[in-house]
């Protein structure tokens, strides 16, 4: 596909007097792994919220795959192929790991089938099992999600997002709270996924960001401060003083 997969134009979001987003312009190119960095409160998560329809922007337009999704609802945007994980990990706690993946896969086949037996929904079954395998969660398949470790929940949430077969995946601090081994495993997984799905990742770990990303968007105070390749960003004087300098000296 040519052209950007996601276009964000003059997007603003105000909470009362606070401009969490003060006119954001950014594009996400297909085929490249994009990272968003920026200090706490820069508006990164708010940007994801606005893009995925959880919050309505105060101004501006958002286009996904060339379509205007500014006023679309959360589930419609998901169905267009945009998936996301949340900064505060969000799964279905009372369901088992497999059920979590299964329902996400089945959402693409349609759930308004009151007389079909879930056990016989072949595609969703196959997909859930494949994802269990792919994410090495098979041994936890019949565990309630509520009983998982923090890292496994984060992994499961990525699995849920993948089960919806997205074209673009937004990850909000996916490795936050993981141990070193888990972090490494997850980063590898993300790198591997980025070969078939476009990914935007919000991440504070600068080393990881510079390691895996093709493009970096730097945000501060609700605006895009800079964007470029990791090499360009590391040489950007403004970014160094505003962000890299005091956050990661």
């Amino acid at each position: 596909m040519s052209g950007p997969i996601l276009e964000i134009a003059d997007v603003e979001k105000h909470f009362g007097g606070l401009a969490a987003l003060g006119g954001v312009n950014a594009t996400v190119e297909s085929g490249r792994l994009t990272a968003i960095i920026g200090p706490n409160g820069a508006g990164k998560t708010t940007l994801f919220n606005v893009v995925t329809g959880i919050l309505a922007p105060s101004a501006g337009t958002i286009r996904f795959l060339g379509r205007d999704i500014t006023r679309s609802s959360v589930h419609e945007i998901s169905r267009l192929g945009l998936a996301r994980t949340l900064q505060i990990k969000s799964v279905f706690h009372g369901l088992t790991v497999r059920e979590n993946l299964w329902i996400a896969a089945q959402s693409r086949e349609g759930v308004f089938k009151p007389f079909a037996n879930a056990k016989t929904c072949r595609r969703a079954n196959e997909q859930a099992d494949a994802l269990l395998e792919e994410l090495a969660l098979t041994r936890l398949a019949s565990q309630q999600a509520a009983n998982l470790s923090y890292g496994d929940v984060a992994l499961l949430e990525i699995g849920i997002a993948l089960a919806t077969e997205p074209k673009l995946l937004l990850l909000d601090e996916p490795i936050c709270g993981m141990g070193p081994a888990e972090t490494e495993r997850t980063v590898e997984k993300i790198r591997e996924l980025s070969k078939r799905i476009d990914i935007v990742i919000i991440e504070h770990d600068i080393e990881v960001v510079f390691d895996i990303s093709d493009d970096i968007i730097v945000m501060a105070l609700g605006r895009v401060l800079a964007r470029g390749t990791p090499a360009e960003i590391s040489e950007n004087a403004e970014v160094r003083s505003a962000y890299l300098g005091d956050d990661d000296a």
């Binding site: 998901s78 998936a83 969000s90 009372g94 329902i103 009151p114 879930a118």
Partner: protein, 337 residues
Amino acid sequence: MTAAAINRLGLAVFALFTLAAPWLLPLVVDGFWVDIYSEMLIWSLLAASVNLLFGYVGLLSFGQALFFGMGMYGVAIGVAKLGLGFWPAFGLGVVLATAMAAVAGALAVRLTWHYFAIITVVFSLIFYFTALSWKPLTGGDDGLSFSMPPMLALGDDWELSLTDSTVQYYFIILVVGACYALMGVILKSPLGWAFRTVRENATRASLIGLNVYLIRLTAFIAAGFIAGVAGALFAFFGRYASASYMFYHVSGEAVVWAIIGGAGTLLGPVVGTSLLIVLREELSHAWEHYLILVGVIVILVVIFAPRGLGGVWHALVRRVARAADEDAGGGDGEGRS
């Protein structure tokens, strides 16, 4: 024995008991318990409709009696005022209840938690007072009684009617059984799993592409349908409709039955309803403050068995199944089933 096998056995015992109750109950206790038992089964459907919403979709409705009342008045008005036969009147009750649920639900399911609970109460109060004051149609305070039309008549001399108590009993258990079977099928379907995801995490549900509003509305309409069937059955059972059954006390009782029986278990409501109706029958005339006991039971259940008696049953079954498994497996590490 696996947990599923134990559950099947339990269900079979329950079904056999229900089938044999017209003979069994007069032998063991007293003939009037047959009537009480049919009444329990009817009321359990009202608790089941609460359970469908609260236990599976996470919406706590304090207004399900409204749809019960619609089912009830649909039948009574159909027979007494419109001169309908048995089946058209039954249909009218159920359709009225379901349509009412579609209208009320379209507004109510936009809200959650206390806002949702409050609006369901408001709706049922509006129609409670409407039923009380619309005397020509509903009979007002006196209610509306009617005489039973036949279900089926062949020629002049053979007819099937609920005036025959055996016919009435089996008609009731057939309809109640069909409702539980229907809920059982739905809860095993993709729609049933979508219900649970909305209960667990509505934001995540919408993020995977589920239309949470439509799923909640569908559940609300289905619950209204179930409550409507209960109300229609109850009208036939008593040959009578009255606004008092639409009052929010009745809705509240159904919530208590569902919670004690076990929200989120298919047959929990039958257990909760039966237990509390037996308590009422046995205690209410002996001790006028018996509701204190009900209150204590509710508090104990909420604290010690948040998934109700149904949850206790499932936990027990799992333990028994695991013990049996270990005995049979002899420790060669077969693992969990």
